[in-house]
């Protein structure tokens, strides 16, 4: 049994962490309002991380999904405010899985070098992802409808839009965003941009058809995002640990109070269980295992819970200081909810998890 990452992947993750330690320091805060740190984004583009899981033929580095996962973990740990996910986690895996040769040749090189930032456009307002909530239509080679919120929607060049065709069938469409009207929205995590996109007969083409394709795209993205969540959760836990070792109350370190120790032990347990699920999910993705959708859902549920728990308890351990604008605690708190919602909330994924178990038992 070798349930561990390859040496190259581990090195890529460590190298990313090393770069981000300085390059991303303070970046999330600087990005407030803008939703991106331009200097950091330029740096990240230059490092080739976006193409980690893209074949060399399309300008990628063929490092592989394992490597991309550990880069994602480093990005999550540093709260890097860059439009990385839409291209690297959503669009590229979707194009590699479903795209025609022409679509791959047209889009993958730009995603790999960062000249094309991509956005995932499924949501049309409140509610969990579901086929019947899709009101955007595709007719005569063009999309019409309103999508919001769309992460990185204002700066992306390409969107993967979920829409319905004339026959009512839902699918994923590739839509260049030139000429599409976009409005920036105030984000829950202001270091990440969200927007409202109004498509009005915007040219687009079909990438993949059927709700199961939508879920397949979401599931791949969920695995990579789980690693960002793990990175964020781990960093939040370490911040709490460090503060608990420094802050004194009642004549002792607050880290010596069991209420604090046991809380942090519980966070540690949640993170380790989530890490194990994420490991399995990346394996299942690479091996195209029949239980991949379930594995992705479990990884998503576990990682979401771990990051949200870690971020909330970190504020708690920091006391009043943790509630201030100037402390970094709220950056993690905000990011934890941003990542929890960006591919559909936890309830949606729990339902997928149980549904796939029912399907397995029925088979």
């Amino acid at each position: 049994m070798n349930f561990a990452f390859s040496e190259v992947a581990v090195q890529a993750g460590e190298a990313a962490r090393e770069v981000l330690r300085e390059a991303a320091s303070g970046a999330a805060r600087r990005a407030f309002g803008a939703g991106v740190d331009a200097a950091l984004w330029a740096r990240v583009r230059g490092l080739g991380w976006l193409g980690a899981a893209i074949p060399e033929a399309f300008g990628g580095s063929s490092l592989g999904e394992e490597g991309l996962c550990l880069i994602a973990e480093a990005l999550g740990e540093s709260l890097a405010p860059v439009p990385f996910a839409g291209g690297a986690y959503v669009a590229a895996p979707a194009l590699l899985r479903f795209g025609s040769a022409a679509q791959q040749a047209r889009w993958l090189p730009g995603i790999a070098d960062g000249s094309v930032a991509a956005a995932w456009a499924l949501s049309e307002g409140p509610g969990a992802p579901e086929a019947r909530a899709v009101g955007t239509v595709f007719r005569d080679g063009a999309l019409t409808g309103v999508k919001w919120p769309v992460v990185d929607g204002t700066l992306a060049q390409l969107a993967l839009v979920v829409a319905r065709d004339g026959a009512g069938e839902v699918g994923v469409y590739l839509a260049p965003l030139e000429g599409v009207s976009r409005e920036a929205l105030a984000g829950l995590d202001p270091s990440r941009g969200v927007a409202r996109l109004a498509f009005e007969r915007a040219p687009a083409e079909l990438l993949a058809s059927g709700w199961s394709a939508v879920e397949a795209v979401l599931a791949r993205a969920a695995v990579f995002v789980a690693f960002e969540q793990l990175g964020g959760a781990h960093r939040a836990l370490m911040m709490a640990r460090d503060y608990a070792l420094e802050r004194q109350a009642f004549g002792r370190k607050i880290g010596s109070f069991q209420a604090v120790k046991h809380k942090l032990a519980d966070v540690y347990v949640a993170i380790e269980l989530a890490r194990s699920h994420a490991f399995y999910a990346v394996w299942a993705m690479m091996a195209e295992a029949p239980d991949f959708l379930r594995a992705a859902a479990a990884a998503r549920v576990a990682a979401t819970r771990a990051f949200e728990m870690a971020a909330a308890e970190t504020i708690q351990v920091h006391g009043g200081m943790g509630f201030t604008w100037d402390s970094d605690c709220h950056l993690f708190y905000r990011r934890s909810k941003h990542l929890a919602l960006c591919l559909g909330g936890i309830g949606y994924w729990k339902d997928i998890l149980v549904r796939t178990l029912e399907q397995r038992n029925a088979a």
């Binding site: 049994m1 349930f3 640990r241 540690y268 490991f279």
Partner: protein
């Protein structure tokens, strides 16, 4: 990443599973001590007992990875093995680490072949989590020791032949420093075993009274006053057992939720039920994958550290919650249900206490993994009898 065995591992697995396929069905479903002894003997004869133990004591001289593979294969059969877990898992390895060769030669082989059973005599009425606070007194007398006091919660003492005994040899020094480890023959004059009835109604553990029990100095393990360090060896072996606690698992609950109806439809369609099922899947399957990570580390020669506390902490609680929820799903019928969920629910509180309570395990993670300060110990540096 892959889940394949190496060629050597695969060969061992094939050998193990062929043996099990041939021999295990004959022991299926039997839980009595005699059957357990017979099964242990059968394993030993074929070289599947003491897989990591040295050959000179009758072990296989194999790797921890082979032990894991053996456990995985053996778990597929309902063979009786529980009565040996404490002895072969913790007590005898401690003997091998500290006793002289002649003593090992005399004791290890019979234990391995299932001819003798060992129990762990650590906990006392006044010393459980804080086991170093124990009072059982061992006083020097000639070329041996005179032992008086009481142990409690000793699993299997009523059918054990030997016990690993932690006793106080010097009450005038701080508690951790005045302890010494011995092994004792449970048939020695002055030892009295009394069964204790558990909440489930069964009696698997005991009180053990020592009245002027004579133990020769040759049965001492480690130096006088070094018992705490020896005890840590025993407790470390607990971590190597990357097994699973017995009891209903997630799949049993899933099946129940598909069978039971709520408002005329299978319970699994109920949103609240689905939510809980998803949570437990994440817990139980997450633990399984965490074991795979530990096994990977083990196969690379790394020994499990304090992070291994996660297994029992998560699984003991999970069995309690999961079986309790299964009873809830049964509704009023749960009132009358015997069966595995009721049984597991009654057993489960013990799992959260035995072998380190939930709270002690959280302390271990907080202190030894996360590096937070130890608890304040008011008695640590004081002489025990002060």
């Amino acid at each position: 990443m892959d889940f394949e065995d190496s060629p050597e591992e695969a060969a061992f697995r094939a050998e193990a599973s062929a043996f099990l396929e041939r021999e295990a069905p004959g022991f299926g479903g039997r839980g009595d001590v005699a059957a357990a002894k017979a099964w242990q003997g059968t394993k030993a004869e074929a070289g599947f007992a003491g897989i990591t133990w040295p050959r000179r004591f009758g072990g296989r001289g194999g790797t921890p990875m082979q032990q894991v593979i053996w456990n995985q294969e053996e778990e597929k059969y309902q063979v009786p093995r529980g009565v040996f877990e404490i002895g072969l898992g913790m007590c005898v390895p401690t003997v091998m680490a500290y006793a002289e060769a002649a003593v090992c030669e005399r004791l290890v082989g019979p234990a391995l072949r299932g001819e003798t059973i060992w129990c762990q005599l650590f906990s006392e009425p006044a010393a459980g989590s804080d086991v170093a606070g124990l009072r059982m007194r061992a006083e020097r007398e000639g070329d041996g020791w005179r032992i008086n006091g009481q142990k409690i919660w000793t699993s299997g003492a009523h059918f054990s032949d030997f016990g690993l005994l932690l006793a106080r040899t010097d009450p005038s020094v701080p508690k951790h420093r005045g302890l010494t480890m011995f092994f004792v023959e449970m048939g020695s004059p002055g030892i009295e075993v009394r069964r204790i009835r558990q909440i489930s109604g069964e009696s698997n553990f005991n009180e053990v009274f020592f009245t002027n029990v004579w133990v020769p100095d040759g049965q001492r393990l480690g130096e006088v006053g070094d018992g705490w360090r020896v005890a840590l060896t025993t407790l470390m072996h607990e971590r190597l057992a990357i097994g699973s606690l017995p009891g209903p698992d997630f799949e049993d609950l899933l099946t129940l939720a598909q069978e039971i109806a709520i408002e005329g439809a299978p319970a699994i369609g109920n949103a609240a039920v689905r939510e809980r099922l998803a949570d437990w899947y994440v817990q139980s399957q997450g633990l399984e994958y965490t074991k795979w990570r530990a096994i990977t580390a083990l196969s690379r020669g790394q020994m499990p550290g304090p992070e291994a506390s996660i297994y029992k902490l998560v699984s003991a609680r999970k069995i309690q919650d999961l079986s309790g929820f299964a009873l809830d799903l049964l509704g009023e019928a749960g009132l009358a249900a015997g069966g595995r969920f009721a049984e597991a629910w009654l057993q489960s509180p013990g799992g959260r206490i035995a072998g380190g309570t939930d709270e002690i395990l959280r302390n271990i993670i907080a202190e030894r993994v996360l590096g937070l300060p130890g608890d304040i110990r008011l008695d640590r540096d004081k002489p025990f009898n002060a």
